[in-house]
Each structure stands twice: as structure tokens, then as C-alpha cells.
Symmetry: C2
Subunit: 215 residues, 2 copies
DNA sequence: ACCTGAACACCGTTCAAGT
DNA sequence: ACCTGAACACCGTTCAAGT
């Protein structure tokens, strides 16, 4: 029994204490996230994850309903990480207008740094988030962060009046669309490299900003 | 031999004349597009496409290098259809500013009408479009339509000065992001139904328009 | 030139059986 | 409670063989 646990830990290439006390569920999520990061959403398989965790191919089914449930756990962690990055970005500036700009930059930066993760968070692998309440909640919380920033900007006169939901969707659509186009290589002909992508992001975001601010 | 052709035609549920003269390649693309439309990109398999076309599982490999090549053909057709819808939309209005608005509406409408098709056109199933020259060209041509509309709007004073590429990317990112969020169900809690989605699209697009026009 | 049949190495999922 | 081993029905791709 003890040998088995050790096999699991070394199979992941990890060597930290307390591996015995960990649940296999957490190990599987970690292995899944790593696998997605390496080979993309396409190259992901439940059997390979089990192999990396050092367990049989049937073992994951004790902890997750199936492949989609494991991916949902990975996606949930992704939203938690994105929300943390956005919260941190917001704290970097004082005035609401530049806070919004920082939020957008953080979003695109996260997308470029973790493209495969973003695909799992938004892609068709999980057709209905409401089937995974924890994931659904994490996604809602992330959007809530943006909505709060919009609200504050409106109160400070740094965003035009109007339905805050519309403004938030506009901002979200812009950064999400730009991230998707960059990740999917749609702009690869004319935008080379991460640095150029970030510059494009700030120029493009500014164009929307003018519409959102209204002056 | 003739019996075989007939079997192919009826297997697709079609009964048009001239089926004998058609190439299997075209049949496979049609069957693939239909399958994707029904079951989404996930439920697509090359074997099932072959079954629907009434041929053996190895037959497609004579016409396509593999699964990705067949998907690339489907995606190419998608870009051709999208470009046609955009060109038609543009002809509906005279002044450049409302032409841009019509382009955006057409994009979102296409996405909502053919969500699975859009995913193939942009998703990770085809990681590198340059590996499929015809697809790459069709995608470029579609973006070129948007770029031309931006250029014309700038000449008419209906769009602010500046790098037309930046303006085009902003517009593209906005409608693409909104389409993605709608398709992926990210707004399902607060936007119910196609009609409400279209209304949201026109409100949100207007917010960007103010930034693009600059007055 | 174009297609079939059989094969290989994978995959997700289930289920009896073990501890 | 938690995991294994074996099985089932799939999948993408290859390749000799047919016509």
C-alpha cells in the first residue's frame, strides 16, 4: 500500500512530503492540468491522466463521474486563477478608468500564458456549466469582478451611464474575442510574439474605452 | 459499381440526379458538415462520416490526408459562407457607418445560426491554418472584407483616423468575442433566446462604434 | 485510380472482483 | 471505501489486397 503511494508521487515527477495524505482526486486534477498545458485540449485523455497519476484506468471513476467532470474541475481552477489575477491587477491602480484597463490587460495576459486552460474554461468540452455547480459559481464570480469594476467606474463618472451589464459584456467580449483570435492563431500573419500581442491589446482596448467612457 | 453509387446517395438520405458523377470527396464534406451541425465538434468522427457516405472507413484517406484535412475543408466552406453573408449585409446599406453595423450583425447572426461550424473555423481542431492553404486564403479573404469596410468608412469620415488594422481587429474581436460567449453559454443566465441575443449584440456593438467613430 | 477488409494502437466507460 | 483487471464498443490510421 505504501509502495503504491510512492509510485504515484514519483510518477508525477514530484517528491514532496505528505503525498500519502493527499487524495487521488487532487492528484488527478493536477495531472490533468499539466497534460492539457502540454498537449492542448486535443491531446488530453483520461487514461493518460490515470497513467501519470500511477493508478489504473478505472480509478478516476471513483472520484469523478467521467472525463467531463474532471475537466470541469480543471476549468474551475482556471477561473479561480483568472479571478485572482484580475483582482490583483485591479489593486495596481487607483482610479477606476485605469483599473478597467488593467483588468483587460490581465485577461489577455492570462489567456496568452494559459491558452489551453482558457479553452477548457470556455470551450465545448463542458457544454453546460450549470451541470457543474462549483465551476458555474467560479465563472460567475469572475464576471462579477468585472461588473463591480464597471459599477465603480460609473459612480466615479469614469464610465458612461447605462445598463452596467451591457458595458460589462462589451468589455468582456472585446478582451475575450481578442484573446481567442490570438490563441487560435488568427492574427499570426501580422502579430508576431507575445510582446506585439500585448501592444495590440492595449491599442484595441483603448478604442473600446473611448466608447465606454463617452468622452 | 453502379449499385455502390446508389447506396452512397441513399445513405445520405439524398435522391438527386447526377449523384453518380459526384466525387466522394464532395460527399464527405457534406456529410461531415451535417454531422458537425447535429452533434457538434465533439460528436464528430471520421468513421461515422464514412458510414454516412456509404463507404468503408478507409475510403476517406484516398481523398483527404486525415481527419484534420476533412475538417479544414468544412471550415473553408464555413468561411466562404460567412464571407457571402457579410458581403450581402454590406450591400443592404449605403453609408459606411451603418455598413459596419450590418457587418457585425451578420457575423453574430451567422455564429448563432451555425455554432458548430464556427467552432471548427476557429477552434483547436485545426491548429495551423497555413497547413491548409485554401482554408487560410478563405479566412484571409473574410477578414479582408472587414478591412475594406473600415477603409471606406475612414475615407468617408465615418471612422476615426489611425491604423485601419487596429480598428478592424477591434471590430472583429468584439463580434467574435460576443459570438463565442453566446455560443459557449456564458451569458445563458441573463440572455435567453436568439432575439434577446441579437438585441444585446446591437447594443454592445454600438458601444464600440462610439469609440471607433470618435464622435 | 479508387476502394475494401483486416489489423494496430489507442480511447471512455462499466463491472465484477479484490483489499 | 477505494482500487484493479478485464471487457465492450468505439476511434484514427495504415496497408495489403482487390477491381
Amino acid at each position: 500500500m505504501k509502495r503504491l503511494r510512492v509510485r504515484r508521487a514519483t510518477a508525477r515527477g514530484l517528491d514532496r512530503k505528505g503525498a500519502d495524505a493527499e487524495s487521488l482526486a487532487a492528484d488527478l486534477v493536477i495531472a490533468a492540468a499539466a497534460l492539457i498545458g502540454e498537449h492542448g485540449p486535443q491531446g488530453f485523455s483520461l487514461r493518460e491522466v490515470a497513467r501519470r497519476a500511477g493508478v489504473s484506468e478505472a480509478a478516476p471513476y471513483w472520484h469523478f463521474a467521467g472525463k467531463e467532470a474532471l475537466l470541469a474541475a480543471v476549468a474551475e481552477q482556471g477561473f479561480i486563477n483568472l479571478a485572482a489575477a484580475m483582482a490583483e491587477a485591479r489593486e495596481r491602480s487607483k482610479d477606476p478608468r485605469s483599473q478597467l484597463r488593467e483588468l483587460g490587460v490581465a485577461y489577455v495576459r492570462f489567456a496568452l500564458a494559459h491558452p489551453s486552460h482558457l479553452r477548457i474554461m470556455f470551450g465545448p468540452e463542458i457544454p453546460d456549466k450549470t451541470a457543474h455547480p462549483a465551476l458555474h459559481q467560479a465563472a460567475e464570480r469572475t464576471f462579477g469582478l468585472l461588473l463591480a469594476a464597471i459599477n465603480e467606474a460609473q459612480r466615479a463618472g469614469d464610465a458612461r451611464a447605462g445598463n452596467p451589464f451591457d458595458l460589462a459584456v462589451a468589455a468582456w467580449a472585446m478582451v475575450h474575442g481578442l484573446s481567442s483570435l490570438l490563441i487560435d492563431g488568427q492574427l499570426r500573419d501580422r502579430v508576431r510574439g507575445m510582446r506585439e500581442a500585448q501592444l495590440l491589446a492595449s491599442r484595441v482596448t483603448k478604442l473600446l474605452e473611448m466608447g465606454l467612457v463617452g468622452r
